[in-house]
Assembly symmetry: D2
Homo-oligomer: 201 residues x 4
């Protein structure tokens, strides 16, 4: 398979994960992947908030079926996944149990306002979803000097926001390029196990 | 304080957590607590499902303010909290950060169809919410022969469903009586730290 | 009970947790507690390292029996508890299952060189031990402006080391004073549940 | 690469994980892998216990370097990894950070006497170690009827012991054959990313 297909699914109330998704899209495209980027429907919206990225397309079952690999990114809300991305996951549980996502690849990202308030737990819970689905998990590790520029979250790329923004986009790009480049390569290597071995089809 | 006030919040699509909540209500009433039992709004409802317990009242900010202690119970959906109970948690995040639930007590319960598919993780994530809120956590332990009749989940009472039902209600009652009796006693003991020390009050 | 008895158990290879334990001891003494501070035996010692604090007494079964509440503090080694503090926990498993620590209080602390490399997971795993033992858990929350000076770890106080040292001891003292003062008060409030209600005693 | 090299590392006090390791060895050999099976040194041994499998060789740095993929298996002690397997992990932390295990594969297994007492947490903590090391994680999923014969632990194969023994060895073999066959295939597919692409070299 020359071109792995990667689906980025993000939940974004105020825009940080929408921006992060766009950076990930760019990194994956540079790595030779075909990329779809999709938001989830907001289910717990404060009445005075207009959610970010509402003009972007919603993720659906076809996107999940199309992809060889998944990048999920969520804010930390009360230290856990947003309810909105959880609702998306719940809605596709039956397809997951039926094995539709088996041996696809998975990596997780998170954002939060504080350094410790659930960033480990958000990516850990996302990884648990990937595990349930039968995905092959690709966490970033602490075994890379580049990854450690993000202060060493081995379980998923995580970003401490600065006034709601991804800080230092140059570092974010460098880290995303390295990690998602690796992610695309692993996705390419395992796709033949699912019978995906031709051209991008 | 003679009478601790306990709020039971449950998420129930097919009815198991509604039944479990009712058993908990009975155990807490027997332990001398004043009890409210409330459901959360369903946010990720399959179109062909009529949710259980829709005639029961919805939990709201007043219930959270009223209570001295919280019992949260969720099914395991893809190994995590239901999206619906997460939406309820998200909607009360600001009050939590403002300290409204500080030094209240908290205990978690879960149900799932399989023995291992997230029952530890669901109560662990609920406990993480209680921790974020500043609650005092009361997990059931493995240090009790009664608790271990539920096969030893030390982090929260968890129930492996049998065709969607709580199995062996007699054991469920015995375990709930012991654990929630302890929970009520601890809630009573710490309430004076919040200035709750008169009659009920 | 006028004077709660608190046991601090620390694991320290290079000294950070030994220093942190001493700061905790000071905060607890100021809060009116009677304090013992004890190290654990090192079990996975690099051959060229002389462990910190080897002249301090080792924690033993008598210390665990004596205490009304526990403060456990561990470095993050490969993102988890040190093997040394885990060995101490394993060695007292039978007493825990027999209920010797039931209804005692528990809070967890951690240190690491990076912001995200297991600091949530270390305190979470320590809390899981407290839960297994039947302890009442007192995590610090995100519901306090003081706690959030440590960048918002709601599950346990955690410290990102600066060249192996606790950074900014003034903030560390402020945070420890507030959290451990609360911990001592809760320990005092629940001790009568264990029949500990006289003077100290 | 025709023959993936898999290292099984087990911690076994009373023998269950030694038996489980032997079953895994058999399943991996049948799947065409070259297998080493190694125990860890016991570090928290009760004085009256003769550890199981002490005549088997100890895992060392050379074994970790040799392998293309890792199977780690631990009992649940107080709901977490055994101290002994944690000591082994701690002792190889520097090599892990230096990237020696980057892009190798990893899967986790656990045993416990109770259904819920840490079996999710043990494999989750082992997976966290694999993530820190830069490994590609292969959890078993809930998307397989065979895996669910073990009652649905999606994060790692886990076994509820019956009087200290792996129950129903026929089911254990079936589950291990399916999961470790998949694990060997994924290990083979990703090995070229590490320059391991010839014959078994």
């Amino acid at each position: 398979m020359s071109t792995p297909r990667i689906l980025i699914v993000f939940s974004s109330l105020f825009g940080a994960n929408s921006s992060l998704g766009a950076l990930a899209q760019s990194a994956l495209t540079d790595a030779g992947a075909e990329v779809r980027i999709r938001r989830v429907r907001e289910v717990a919206l404060p009445s005075d908030v207009q959610p970010a990225a509402q003009n972007q397309p919603l993720a659906d079952a076809d996107d999940l079926a199309w992809a060889d690999g998944f990048v999920f990114t969520s804010p930390s809300h009360t230290g856990l996944l947003s309810a909105s991305i959880k609702a998306f996951i719940d809605e596709h549980h039956d397809a997951a149990v039926a094995g539709h996502y088996f041996n696809k690849t998975f990596t997780a990202m998170a954002t939060a306002a504080f350094a410790h308030s659930g960033q480990e737990r958000v990516v850990d819970d996302l990884n648990a979803v990937g595990a349930s689905w039968g995905c092959i998990l690709v966490p970033p590790s602490t075994a890379s000097a580049t990854m450690n520029k993000l202060d060493g979250n081995p379980y998923g790329l995580s970003f401490v926001l600065n006034h709601g923004q991804i800080p230092d986009p140059a570092i974010a790009r460098e880290v995303l390029n390295e990690h998602l480049g690796r992610f695309a390569a692993i996705t390419r290597a395992v796709a033949p196990l699912r019978g995906r071995d031709g051209a991008s089809d």
